[in-house]
């Protein structure tokens, strides 16, 4: 494995980047409140914290995208000189791979490399770009099927994320020395995520540095040499990874919810579940009060199956007051949030037709509905009329949950709704789903996280757009799900 990056990084004590008491204040909001840290070659720093703890701000300060309002950030170049600012950050080989995808769907894979790589100009730049991205993809994800000439818009979500990660590690005019990975595995399935983790370890052992942000603690423990815990814009704990356990990490983040989630009372399931309320052409079926999971590797047709089902049972003007089915989006920006609206308006959208009196919206009833769900689901805001975008991601997600649950729809479809949501919110959501199921609602729940799928009464595992297994009761466990996800793939290769 050739990594040019290793060459300049042999002085172990010289940090690549040093933050000293960095502060970022947006008005009264202290997004970053005095953070000091250094990252040296060979380190892989796991950055952990709840939504809104200041991780994204910290990342933007480290990569030079945001100038701190106080304190300093300095970068050490390969030749030992120091600098500050966005240009210096680029020159020092700081690369970022962001949580929300930042590729241009209208360009091809190789053309997308042109945006971060400023040296790709002049005659023959396409060839250079194709070589760089192919090499990086080959190193990171052996067996991938991405051609440099493919349009990014034609790739799956997972493939796009792979391209983005590969672009972060690809060689360029300035070699990558510190790569910041913000939730890099959120759309990847387990095997691809594993390839990425392996590469991160290789990269660090040959002198590169990585900042690894993930809600999947297992992954963090697997790659991190050091773990920094953030809360309220500060680093509140920083130890070598071996100094933490999963439990102590969660405690450090300041959350009381325990990791142990499996309090599902499988025994009760029999009483709760009623007659069949849905079945789809691809073989999905669910009964009243049942929580049905959709599992399998990411991008194998689960989301499409859900969307097809939802579309087939909604959209008619006659159904708006008594919808058959409600939807909880996972991709909030694309499928859920109305960015111009208040939290309240976002929350009531689905149930609104039932709040019409004399042709007009009963605004008192709307406010009551909002207040009711604010209390029930714990949306952290002092005023439901604040813009939805003033909420953290997790609280926006709660509003979207409430939007679906506030309706009278007997079936609720959830498209990976816990993507990028902190542990505490997840626990609250699991509890809510169970309560709603007990009162007779049916859930179709697609999740990329096995832990969530194991909460379900019945699980359909998808592979290549088809159902490869149906699991019930005690058969729902990680081993069986993985087996059904991979089984035929192994045979085909």
């Amino acid at each position: 494995m050739e990594l040019a990056t290793g060459a300049g990084a042999l002085k172990p004590d010289a940090p690549l980047v040093a933050l000293s008491d960095a502060r970022v204040h947006f008005g009264a909001v202290r997004a970053l409140d005095g953070v000091s840290l250094t990252i040296s070659p060979g380190e892989c720093v796991g950055l952990i914290g709840h939504n809104g703890a200041g991780k994204s701000t910290a990342v933007n300060v480290i990569n030079g995208g945001l100038t701190p309002t106080g304190g300093s950030v300095s970068y050490v170049m390969e030749d030992g000189s120091q600098g500050t600012g966005a240009v210096a950050a680029r020159a020092a080989g700081i690369r970022s791979v962001f949580q929300e995808l930042s590729l241009c769907p209208n360009l091809t894979v190789l053309e997308n490399l042109r945006i971060p790589h400023r040296d790709l100009t002049g005659f023959g730049w396409r060839k250079t770009a194709a070589q760089r991205i192919s090499k990086a993809l080959g190193e990171l994800f052996p067996g991938h099927r991405i051609e440099p000439g493919m349009a990014v818009g034609d790739l799956t979500l997972a493939e796009r994320q792979m391209v983005e990660i590969a672009a972060g590690f690809a060689e360029g005019a300035t070699p990558a020395r510190l790569v910041i990975l913000d939730e890099p595995t959120s759309s990847l399935d387990a095997s691809i995520a594993r390839q990425l983790l392996a590469h991160v370890r290789r990269f660090c052992s040959s002198g590169g540095a990585v900042i690894f942000i993930s809600h999947m603690l297992g992954e963090v423990f697997e790659v991190a040499t050091r773990i920094d815990v953030m809360k309220d814009g500060k680093i509140i704990d920083s130890r070598p990874a071996s100094g933490f356990t999963q439990q102590s990490l969660i405690d450090a983040m300041g959350h009381v919810a325990s990791e142990k989630t499996d309090v599902r009372a499988a025994v009760e399931a029999g009483d709760r579940i009623g007659e069949e309320v849905l079945s789809t052409p691809e073989g999905l079926s669910a009964r009243r009060g049942e929580i049905v999971g959709l599992a399998g590797l990411a991008g194998h047709g689960q989301a499409e199956a859900l969307a097809r089902f939802f579309m087939s049972r909604s959209g008619a003007l006659s159904k708006v007051r008594t919808p058959d089915v409600a939807f909880v989006a996972g991709d909030r920006g694309r499928d859920g949030v109305m960015p111009l609206w208040s939290i309240l308006r976002n929350l009531t959208l689905t149930h609104l037709p039932s709040l019409v009196r004399n042709g007009l919206i009963d605004r008192d009833a709307e406010a009551r509905l909002g207040a009711d769900w604010k209390a029930r689901i714990g949306i952290r805001t002092d005023n439901m009329n604040n813009p939805i975008l003033s909420l953290s991601g997790g609280n926006q997600q709660k509003a979207l949950f409430a939007r679906a649950l506030a309706s009278t729809a007997p079936i609720v479809v959830m498209d990976d709704p816990m993507r990028g949501v902190d542990v505490g919110t997840k626990q609250e959501a699991y509890e809510l789903v169970r309560r709603e199921a007990e009162s007779g609602r049916t859930f179709l729940w697609y999740s990329t996280e096995t832990e969530e799928v194991c909460q379900c009464d019945r699980v359909f595992v998808f592979r290549n757009g088809l159902i490869s297994a149906e699991l019930t009761g005690a058969a729902i466990n990680e081993e069986n799900i993985l087996a059904a996800s991979f089984e035929m793939q192994g045979a085909a290769e």
């Binding site: 590729l103 241009c104 997308n112 042109r114 945006i115 818009g153 969307a307």
Partner: protein
């Protein structure tokens, strides 16, 4: 995959229309006939390319028609009488286009309205320059537009040239890629440290350049100008970009397609006069052809995607 379809459809629609014209009027299948058919295609193609530059960065230009008229007026007056001053005015107009692009970005203004306002401005300046139709085409432009290359008429050669140059500029060059990236994901471009303002101003400046060229060619063909000479180019250029497989958002454009779209529109006009259609129905038939081509495009693109059926609501 989708990229291939994008260029295939405009080509087919042009071929079908051309075949229909030849069937109705076999004499059109000659050097002279082709020249007549595509006579006005060059300025339309240039205006369409100008529109494409704006659509590429997710904006829309409602002023291109009046801008081409304005350029034509400058060409027929100042560029003819005092070439240096004329050239300076045209360069200033291009810079004005760039400035508008920068303004739209900096103040986050809706392009549709700013260009709407600019259409009044260009129109007003054109009226001041040429209150009544007149002026004269500079000799060299006239010569250039009436040159008779061997085998293929000038209009066709010029269109191939325009398509080739803009394809290299927009689809192949690294700068063109960056411009399309602005349309595809502005945030990503800004985050990598590029000045989106400069890029947008650049795209607008390119639109200005092609708008000016369109006006110059138009005067070369018509030999004189008036302030309303190219008003319909605004709508024609938008239609041309879309016929050529472009989309309004997301930086999905095709220069070759845009030129072919412009040719299709120019041909549609000629086709109708060959049909000896009552003038009452000429405009209507143009609309019908536009609808027809788009309907065919739908059938083709439906075949392109089956999996993604559930994606669009």
């Amino acid at each position: 995959m989708s990229g291939r379809y994008r260029i295939l459809l405009p080509v087919i629609s042009l071929a079908v229309l051309l075949a229909a014209v030849f069937y109705l009027q076999p004499r059109a299948m000659s050097y002279f006939g082709l020249n007549l058919l595509f006579n006005l295609a060059v300025p339309i193609a240039l205006a369409t390319i100008a529109q494409m530059m704006i659509i590429m960065v997710n904006d829309i230009d409602l002023s291109i028609g009046t801008f081409v008229s304005f350029s034509a007026c400058v060409t027929a007056t100042f560029l003819n009488d005092t070439p240096l001053l004329g050239a300076a005015i045209l360069i200033a107009a291009i810079l004005a286009y760039a400035a508008i692009g920068a303004l739209i970005h900096l103040r986050e203004l809706p392009a549709i309205v700013v260009t709407l306002g600019m259409s009044f401005v260009w129109g007003g300046v054109a009226v001041l320059l040429l209150p009544s139709p007149g002026g004269a085409a500079p000799g060299w432009i006239r010569t250039l537009m009436t040159v008779k290359p061997p085998l293929v008429p000038m209009a066709v050669v010029a269109c191939v040239l325009i398509a080739g140059v803009t394809h290299v500029l927009i689809m192949r060059s690294s700068t063109g890629t960056l411009l399309r990236a602005v349309g595809g994901n502005t945030k990503a471009v800004a985050r990598s440290g590029w000045s989106v303002m400069k890029l947008k101003a650049g795209a607008y400046a390119l639109a200005g350049v092609f708008g000016v060229l369109s006006g110059m060619c138009l005067v070369g063909l018509t030999t004189s100008a008036d302030a309303n000479i190219a008003l319909r180019y605004t709508l024609l250029s938008i239609a041309g970009v879309i016929l050529g497989g472009g989309e309004f958002t997301g930086g999905k454009v095709s220069p070759v397609g845009a030129v072919i779209g412009a040719l299709t529109l120019a041909l549609a006009g000629s086709f109708l006069s060959f049909m000896r259609l009552s003038p009452d129905w000429q405009i209507g038939a143009q609309g019908a052809i536009l609808i027809l081509v788009l309907a065919v495009r739908l059938v083709f693109s439906r075949r392109g995607r089956k999996w993604k059926g559930a994606e669009n609501g």
